[in-house]
Symmetry: D3
């Protein structure tokens, strides 16, 4: 099985981290292909950058040559997943929804700890649209920007742990979702410190994508995610 | 006052229709500038095309030279408004929300009559995110594609009227919103046939944009729509 | 165009303040007529007074002689708007909903800062019925009674600013609505202090009422707001 | 124990029917006092009439001389209950909420069958505000006006039964609430025909009011229903 | 009239307290029969114990010999009420819903003060399923286990009062429900201390059960609570 | 890895079918152990039987000797999962939620096709509590009892296909969940007939259980699913 995992920003090192994290849980027979968008922001922390990422991810996936069985969009709370679902037949898994789906199997309420406060409403809106917000206790910001996670890993862990504990105590969360693709690999550390299960979106998405493929399940094509009608499109696929 | 009204598709004639409709209700001192995206689909009828339109609209607005007081995004149920709100200080009005906002002042429940069935979930989701879905009785599809509205105007009117009447009788709607920028100008015709107020998103958006400008109200910059942080962005602005 | 703006309490000076505020944003060709109910409380701060105001407003509007194009009910969170909509063909705009409608175009969440804590549930209920509560971050009380706003303007500003800032910081509001007709004129002051857009219901309602009239939109008469059936009514219109 | 049961319209014969129905289930030691408003419509079938009834009911109760232990407002889906709760210390029970409260103990979902279609949204809104709408399968109109219930009792029963059966079959209601004070006494007849429990609001309200009195429970006075502040009120109490 | 009131735990002394409390408000002609399950936990403070209680209560009721008119399940937030409703024709009243139903007649929002924090989600879930959660301000834990209520009555009162006051001040509750059958009898004490009406589930359930019987209302048998189909059941009724 | 999959009814042949279905998708290294409750109904089609199943499943799992890594409760819409989560440290997956979780990754809305109409409210309630009901288009009954699925497989397929197609056309479902453990194995047949993805709860649960185990994720023990407190429990574990 081959799974494409697409970063939402243009920072190659983050694509590598994400792909590595994905490989750490993938089945031996699963090949993980990490992809970096050809355009967009070095980190995605808001709607403009996220919308740009949405089509950059579609552009990157559509320009990938060769077969694959599933696609993972590795941005937390980002736009675009529905577009990929229209363009593809294979399953598309967003790490935001993947983390929430598994978290809901582990506790009565879950919380998300993300990067900057400005991204909180995006994440909440994406969880609402995905239909998994009902049992979300809170989305909390650590105050660390996406790129700062890599730069200051120790400070990042402290900041995330602090919010995770607040989420458990004040918001009554029983499970924590790591709200950024760049937090991949921190789950066990946070779990030990916060005392509750911690779900990383990337590994959750790998498990779910493999599950869907194994069960022979594909995106429904009857209505919302039907293949786009043939029509004249100017400037697509992008040639940059 | 100058208001930019941006079409979401690349069909110039539709931009003209929309701008003309906008001018028909604008104050004498308001200048309406119609803009067509430089890339994207000739009509937007789904998520992929809508996401592409989202950045094409941002691209077009950002490359517009000269001052303006407000921006109207003239696509029904499309993505992208939040991105524009981050990039700009002036008010941004989406015709989907504009129509719903005024409709809610006129009746207990409103319905939307749109083009193809596949766009219904997008519109519902956008209404939910905008916080104006609670009193939406239904979103109904006329079965007419966006471009067919121009091509077969009489059949379009029949199809829209039919669904409008169904919405009133079955779904208990008391007001109808025209769910496509390309329906601009049909409101009075439909109103006469369906017997209820009909709100056209384009004219509603012009009135609301002028209102916001007149009251000195601008997009809040404290959180969700804060200006994007300065960072490295590859391939933006687009050079096609 | 002539717009009737009806105060909900019997304090004439407040009617004047409201009408003056309305005139400050009305189009030059719009005539604003301020009306004071013939009976009711000097200030409306609860359900009993609000119900009394509901019919006092209807009584005052129905006894007004001469044509008009729209009616504004200038009480925040008060009962009665639906009754006016049944009795009239012209648009009826309530300042509670007007403020919320415009606030939702400016930020992801809005808060209302009102007078006394006891009025908070009324306002919340009215926002719910109006279908604009989903994105309401909070309704907060300044602790100042309606008449104290006029009597102690400086203390009022301080108290409102304090709650506005709390709403932004704690409740994550991005826009503030001034939750009392008697706060008319304070919007710019509060905006400067709180750092977010501030929407005043009276000016918002004027802009919306003018918008509806300009667009030729009237209250739907098919169901909820159909004209009352002819029937025997004792003691109406009131003769006091 | 003495319970005041107040009709919302000015039709004396309906007050008598309601009071008689109340007496049929009241405890032997409970005295039922039927009251008719001094002003208002002969039947209440919409917002204007309902708002008028709201204060007419308050006027009638406040002008009643002598002690009493509870008040029942005997209009289905009408405004005003919150005002009475502010003015009084004794419990106030609205027949709309009383019927729903008991219905929810008897089945998974309940439906309301009321008079005219135009009153359906009022009833839905009142059920929402009362917090008992979640398990409401539907509110259906029989098409019979309030006064027609008395005039054409047989046709009324047929029309109500028809809608009750539709509610059970199509809307999956398991219990029916009779949605008009004027339907008092029809419950057993409808029950036999529709095959599900039928709750009459008047008798439900009597049982609940007696329950509250017996348990020594009174309206909370800490916030929403606190006694109105002392202030100048023009024209109240009404002198007609 | 004979009402069975079934404790959910196996502590006989608690059954007696509950039955005594029930008798204190029952009509003179009502006979209250207290029943203790034949198996299960000495106190119910979680899902496992609550599920066990669900069938233990059914087992106890089904093995009761002799006629009765209604059944009260006297556990706060426990599973099982729907099963009893299937097995019986007479009304079944759960104290959780009974308390909420009456509380909603007394104030705009109510709060529940219960025993241990771990039971809060169960109570919230039961209130949601019962359709009476909308106006629930909060469910708060006193930190006292069920059996500690009997053992340390003074400490229990202090802990409950503390949370009741917090619920009023912070969560804006206007009525308090006592969230444990073992709190029976504390209502007046808490009411005096917290300054708001306090509803005890046991007495509320007695009043409601008597009301239903008096009105001739029984559980609907058309769908959810239809009598179980005849089928082979191993090990039921339990013989321990 | 060893996964226990527990039937909710006492029909051994159904346990075998379920276990066989589970094995068909399990990883080669996963051992599937099918368990049949020691007591309860031969089929579970309502609340009484479902509550009985809840503890029968707990009884069976707790009396299983030997290690295991996860437990699957193989009843659609049944009670009890929360109890198992308290008693165990390993993940517990309910097929109702498993199917919904995967379905939500494949389409905008899903529907459930189940057995008898009387079980529909149970399923809806379980989906609500699980937080996955928001995107449920409908739950539809095929009219076939649980045991009839085995007895009349052809009629069952026809009845399920009919409802699946109705769900797609009328309710706008884009994915179908098979709403009964006894429908295991029918997914491909239904998929071919209905033209949309069909999710079988048993195989979905196996994939999710394996996923959780592989990712090292376990049930949170901080609040709702904390291990029961040590206390005196009469008659447990059951000895029948």
């Amino acid at each position: 099985m081959r799974i494409l995992i697409v970063n939402v920003n243009t920072t190659e090192s983050m694509t590598e981290t994400i792909a590595e994290q994905a490989r750490s849980v993938a089945s031996p027979s699963t090949e993980i292909i990490g992809l970096t968008p050809r355009f967009g922001a070095e980190s995605v922390e808001g709607n403009f950058e996220s919308y740009l990422a949405a089509i950059a991810v579609m552009d990157r996936v559509m320009s990938y040559v060769g077969p694959y069985d599933a696609v993972i969009q590795a941005g937390y709370g980002e736009h675009g997943r529905e577009g990929l679902q229209e363009l593809l037949d294979v399953p598309v898994v967003d790490i935001t929804e993947a983390a929430a789906s598994l978290a809901m199997l582990l506790g009565h309420k879950y919380a998300v700890v993300t990067t900057l406060d400005r991204t909180v409403p995006l994440i909440e809106d994406r969880l609402k649209l995905a239909g998994v917000h009902e049992r979300c206790a809170s989305v909390r910001a650590s105050g660390m920007g996406v790129l700062e996670l890599e730069e200051f890993p120790e400070r990042a862990v402290e900041a995330i742990v602090e919010q995770a504990i607040e989420a458990v105590i004040r918001d009554k969360a029983e499970v924590i979702c790591l709200g950024c693709g760049g937090m991949a690999g921190l789950d066990q550390l946070i779990r030990d410190r916060a005392g509750v299960p911690v779900v990383d979106g990337v590994t959750a998405a790998v498990a779910l994508a493999e599950s869907l493929v194994r069960l022979g399940l594909k995106t429904s094509k009857v209505r919302t995610y039907a293949t786009p009608r043939p029509k004249k499109i100017v400037g697509w696929p992008f040639k940059l």
